[in-house]
């Protein structure tokens, strides 16, 4: 492997970009495929599949090995609410390290969220610091347009792989109107998963957290590439 390739692979990881190192196990020259160069690649299909699964491996029927590098997913939760309390430990089991943003200091307390990164700030202030990107699951749970709306606009801008917002169909219809009024494109607004979570009849905060995390997992595993 040329040093340039190793540098490029490490740079992609540092910048949270997906990349696949294609190695010929018979000793041929290796190459790096990024999302920018993926379209039209002779191995486009197997590389896409590898990016979706996040697993390195030999391309079936060949002597070519794919080293898959997908940035670890981040999770941002807007709202230090009851559902968030249930969601944080579950998200951790799935390998996420959730960050919670809620300007309401009565909600965002360390007593309610021990050992969690908690930003008691408005989204406009907190979110730029979090470097939200495509590999971020974005979950809006406050029910409060003053908090959720600017947060969702930020999530659109950063093309998060998952954007979900709590609220009934009726609440969501109003949200769609507001966000469109603030200049969000119909395509962006349509990306919001609402009502949030897979439809499993969840009632308790913990059950709702399960349905949200199942939907996040689906988006991550089935949609990332």
């Amino acid at each position: 492997m040329r040093l340039e390739l190793l540098k490029a692979l490490n740079a992609a990881r540092a910048e949270r970009r997906a990349a696949v190192l294609v190695t010929d196990l018979d000793g041929g020259e290796a190459r790096l495929v990024t999302e920018a160069t993926l379209a039209g690649d002779p191995l486009e299909e197997p590389i896409r599949a590898a990016l979706r699964s996040g697993r390195s491996g030999v391309v079936e029927g060949t002597r070519t090995f794919l080293t898959v590098q997908v940035p670890p997913a981040k999770m941002v939760v807007i709202g230090a609410v009851h559902i968030s309390q249930a969601l944080v430990p579950m998200a951790r089991m799935l390998g996420y390290d959730p960050v919670i943003v809620d300007p309401r200091t009565a909600f965002a307390t360390p007593e309610r969220f021990p050992d969690v990164t908690l930003l008691a700030e408005w989204p406009d202030e907190a979110l730029p610091k979090l470097k939200v990107d495509r590999f971020t699951a974005f979950i809006a749970l406050t029910h409060d347009p003053k908090i959720d709306d600017p947060a969702l606009l930020h999530a659109f801008e950063r093309s998060c792989f998952y954007i979900g917002a709590l609220g009934s169909r009726k609440t969501h219809a109003k949200r769609v109107e507001r966000l469109t009024g603030k200049g969000a494109s119909p395509e962006a607004v349509a990306r919001i998963k609402a009502p949030i979570g897979l439809a499993i009849g969840a009632i308790s905060p913990a059950e709702i957290a399960v349905s949200i995390l199942a939907e996040v997992t689906q988006a991550w595993r089935q949609g990332i590439a």
Partner: protein, 107 residues
Amino acid sequence: MISTDDDILTTAEAWAKAGKGVAVATVVETWGSAPRPIGSHLVIDEGGTFLGSVSGGCVEGEVVTEALDVIGSGKAKLLEFGVADETAWRAGLSCGGRIAVYVEKVG
């Protein structure tokens, strides 16, 4: 969550930039119960210093020896370790699995 070998490959780059001969070993295939997943890396410098793991300690010694050879020759090698392999018994892949490790020089 998925990228786990951050420091390992970064270290390999730093070693190579410092002018050392460096090899990267990667688990490319596993059969049965293998201790480290496909894609795991071990990086080795010309002095035999290494970082990372391809088997959780069972065959690292053999891989390092082969890596020094790869650094010397510049020619990549595909190594196999497993229960059917005399070397692996000696190296002790105790889990009973088999692994293939690709070792290549950086640069």
